[in-house]
Symmetry: C2
Subunit: 199 residues, 2 copies
């Protein structure tokens, strides 16, 4: 199994974290997500959106979209509940992550830390930080009264939202403003088989 | 069952379309998505993201995120495959829809058609149209050699991407540029129990 990977991408980290916790072996091929001039044509046949992570199974079939890859490997494991409502709650947070959280926190982080053009993008960075803070406030409201995001236990919803939340300081978003989120980060890190983003 | 709904929202339309095809009855309460001054505090207890669609089941439990609601109701029906890889393909397109397609096509459409401030947002509209065109180009590449988005048949992936694609002209994105997408729209409309967005 081959993972087209980026060491600095939280979306790729989600997949690496779940595969580590499941004890699944795979190879990686590093894709430069900063230098866009190299093109992504090699991904065309396997991922219409031309992004990492993209995963090629041993039978040659491809999977894309980080959260869809999480669903694929978590099916039938403790990380994705069987109960219909619990599953819907997991899915709700996975879509929240891609729609509200990632375009805020992850994009601000990328522009500030990795683009090399942070000054040029100052206005966009401020907008994305604001979007990220709204997403963290929504998580905070929920986590004030819940230990985990869905189903009352650690699931792929927590994996998906941990990836960029724990790196929010790189987007210059102060996690101290979100104490319930901070405690939840600790609970996620304490899970069996946890691995950090940069190993 | 109560759906917090907006007649002009494609995200709400997705849910209405699937429920119509499944023959499931529900009530609706209309939420104004244009006038943001009215607040969304009434959604706070049931949806951390404070958006429509939000659905309240008969037992009082709530579901949010349009594509998560699709997954919930499609489970065990012909609209969501059982095969593990087919399901992952469905999920892949659902996340693509929320990350790439909706922020482009739906946001450009909203700003142009419903915000009442299209001139003020001219630059943002142009950016979102460009993002929408990239998403449609990705769909076009796939649909040139596939009748449906996932699993070789009509699924909730098609429902999710039909919602705003069929209204792309309201975002002033020319669908004529994407002939395979145009033929796919016709196949979706031909499905048993199809209902239009505005009834």
């Amino acid at each position: 199994m081959l993972l087209y990977n980026s060491a600095i991408s939280g979306n790729c980290y989600k997949v690496r974290l779940l595969l580590a916790q499941l004890g699944i072996e795979y190879e990686t091929r590093e894709v430069d997500v900063v230098d866009r001039t190299t093109g992504r044509e090699f991904l065309d046949d396997i991922n219409p959106a031309r992004r990492v992570p993209t995963l090629v199974l041993d039978d040659g079939r491809a999977l894309a979209e980080s959260n869809a890859i999480l669903c694929y490997f978590a099916e039938g494991t403790e990380y994705l509940p069987d109960d219909r409502y619990d599953r819907a709650q997991v899915m709700q947070w996975l879509f929240f992550e891609q729609y509200d959280h990632e375009p805020g926190v992850a994009v601000a982080r990328f522009l500030l830390r990795y683009s090399g053009r942070a000054e040029e993008f100052a206005q966009l960075i401020a907008e994305r930080q604001q979007q990220g803070r709204r997403a963290l406030a929504a998580m905070e409201r929920w986590l004030e009264s819940h230990d985990f995001l869905a189903a009352g236990r650690y699931t792929i919803a927590d994996i998906a939202l941990y990836a960029y939340t724990h790196a929010a300081d790189e987007a210059r978003i102060e996690l101290e403003q979100y104490p319930a989120v901070g405690e939840w980060l600790g609970r996620v890190r304490a899970q069996r088989g946890h691995v950090p983003m940069i190993t």
